[in-house]
Symmetry: C3
Subunit: 180 residues, 3 copies
């Protein structure tokens, strides 16, 4: 293996690559905004997820995940490198990322930490839609942020884990404009 | 909202997406290299910016920003996830990123910190060019790096906040070659 | 210079941009998985690399790099912003990234640190393939992670610096399926 699989033979599949990237970014938006429908939508029904401390279907995964997420004040899943290898209507995507978690009290390392991960996803097209069939979420490293978080400053735009978040508000306005 | 807006209906708009990504990356290059024309160029004239501690036009924003940037020894705005929703010649882009700030003395947390942000940008095409009409820079988290920065090693390529930076030097050479 | 070079004149070159991004991501996969053929494949033969503490050809670089990498328990090179300027069959790519290094003992700052970098790459097409002709790896900042790494949890997917890593296993399965 001397080249990333995605550059072999057909260098293109640009449209499929964009859809797969959006799918993973949509998953991250779902986790960070507590929009669990969006988390679920990244997988095909019955898709399998392997996380640290969890193995099961996406439906079970979302039930396992939600109370954990609610235990934090917030999370941010920053996505970096994505390499995709295709075989017809199936693909393997490796996505690098870093997840920042924060909570109260700010000196609790179980609530304040950053981890590096790689999502290794087997995806396929079903009924015209890409979805995850099996995800391995590989944990690479974890670093405590306990005691080094700085207080939020209130005088600026703030996020929310509801549809009041600025991105949902702006997208809703854009859609409203588009209506006749 | 069960799917990222950008995958709806028209999965393409690849060219517009690339232009919008480049616009945000150009903004970050401008901030990190102290190239304020490049910062300004990301917005349409009169475009509005909302930052922690600032609300106003891009022209006012750049005047507010410059002395702050000069107070640091350097900054690095790493850009990750970008999801874009379109409606004709308007778009909403959410861009995740992480900004590293360093300064002297290295144990001052006001000069040495990393923050997570989301740019929520309303953009539109005017005179054939995408530009920001309104930006909400959402601050997600801030972590002190005071006292854990390690000294720079001098025996390798170093950056600059001038046109002597390696990327400007290499781009200038490339352009010079291209001339007849 | 008021706009990123890549947006000038020809906004496209989408295929070339994807190939150059994959090339840099392939390099990072090679480093992180200790797959040195993949590292080498990012450069043209005889390509020059400038790193902190190293200047020489890619062949010399890989020999210099390998024992350093083996001294860590692992590395992760997260890639963010990439802006590319083209001139015919040559290009200059600036790629932002962050490299996380971990090792034993976990309180040794020489083995546990994170650095911000920019790869400033001069690339060209030779025999139909993009490759690096000269790389400047600009070190931006370095932060010690000594003493704040948290122990790995064993009950989940783990990475490897061999072909047993989940991404190699899944890609091999995908290729096996594709055979008649």
């Amino acid at each position: 293996m001397t080249e990333p699989a995605s550059t072999a033979a057909d260098p293109g599949r640009a449209g499929d690559r964009q859809l797969i990237l959006d799918l993973v970014l949509g998953y991250c938006r779902g986790v960070d905004r507590l929009d669990l429908d969006l988390v679920r939508a990244a997988y095909h029904p019955g898709g399998i997820d392997h996380h640290t401390g969890f193995d099961g279907t996406v439906e079970e995964y979302v039930r396992w995940l939600e109370p954990k997420l609610r235990g934090f004040d917030g999370t941010m899943h920053l996505v970096a490198n994505q390499l995709v290898g295709f075989s017809g209507e199936r693909a393997v995507a490796e996505t690098y990322g870093m997840a920042v978690h924060w909570g109260t009290p700010a000196d609790d390392p179980r609530l304040n930490f950053t981890s590096g991960f790689r999502y290794v996803d087997l995806l396929e097209i079903r009924a015209g839609r890409w979805g995850i069939v099996e995800r391995h979420a590989v944990r690479e490293w974890t670093r405590s942020d306990a005691g080094i978080r700085m207080p939020a400053e209130a005088n600026g735009p703030v996020g929310a884990r509801t549809h009041d978040d600025p991105v949902y508000v702006q997208l809703a306005r854009l859609r409203a404009e588009a209506r006749p």
